[in-house]
Symmetry: C2
Subunit: 165 residues, 2 copies
């Protein structure tokens, strides 16, 4: 008897904590460039027990209008962070975190680093004095980036998705 009461207490407390975490993650994602509503949707999909949320559930849980949900979900989908699945005989969309695995995230980071290196190259090319403090600094950064990219390559080799489960 006692145990059951404790257990229900725990469950509701757990859900309280989950909801708080949804808001916290929302704020984090805002800093990452997502709009508030999108951030909280992401939080919801990350922390709650349910694996797949319908459009309506998202509207209810995050307490937003259908239009806001529609816009935010489309953006999140375009960015590739969420995806939706459908089931035969059911018109609803079931949203969930997309299983874009680490590899594609790493590729994104790699591309970003390479773009930065190109930019640095351009800047140096346009400098009058190629021995200035700033050019030295940029070369240093650039070499560091080359190192970094090499290590990423090794990392990708060592990383075998199936061995991680």
């Amino acid at each position: 008897m006692r145990k059951i009461i404790l257990k229900t207490m725990d469950a509701s407390e757990r859900i309280e904590k989950q909801k708080a975490l949804v808001e916290y993650i929302g704020r984090m994602q805002e800093k990452e460039g997502y709009q508030p509503v999108a951030g909280r949707i992401l939080g919801l999909l990350m922390v709650m027990d349910k694996e797949e949320f319908t459009f309506e559930e998202i509207v209810d849980e995050v307490k937003i209008s259908k239009s806001s949900a529609s816009v935010a979900l489309r953006n999140l989908e375009l960015r590739g962070v969420i995806e939706y699945v459908t089931y035969p005989g059911d018109r609803k969309k079931y949203y969930r975190l997309s299983t874009m695995d680490l590899e594609s995230t790493l590729n994104e980071i790699e591309k970003k680093v390479i773009r930065s290196m190109d930019l640095i190259e351009q800047i140096i090319e346009l400098k009058e004095d190629k021995n200035s403090r700033s050019v030295d600094f940029m070369r240093k950064v650039s070499k560091g980036m080359v190192f970094f990219l090499n290590h990423m390559k090794k990392f990708k080799k060592t990383y075998e998705p199936n061995m991680l489960l």
Copy 2:
């Protein structure tokens, strides 16, 4: 004679290109979360030949008001991306890119990754079903992060600032 003319042509063309690059970098930095004015100041400090700019020079070059410059420079300084130096007998502040080297940038990245791992841990802790698709996914990501951190450690060891110049 011919050569001299060509040389002056090149110089002005170079400066034109630099100014275009300042604007371009400004727009890039906006995407990174800086306000427009701050982004263009960063661009200026990165691409132009001058190593150190006074407050007034920045106001003139970026064509902004003193108040905007003051606010933007303070923010950039708080974020640690620029710094200013002073010279004895000169009241002016000379702004330049801060020489935060790769190591501190790497440490920032490391901290960020560790914070993400903590968050994932928290989320998993609050999940009812620890064997769900999402928990599996999160564990995978988390393990990937551990790998990543180890490689960063190795990278830091291999990286010897003085060997890069």
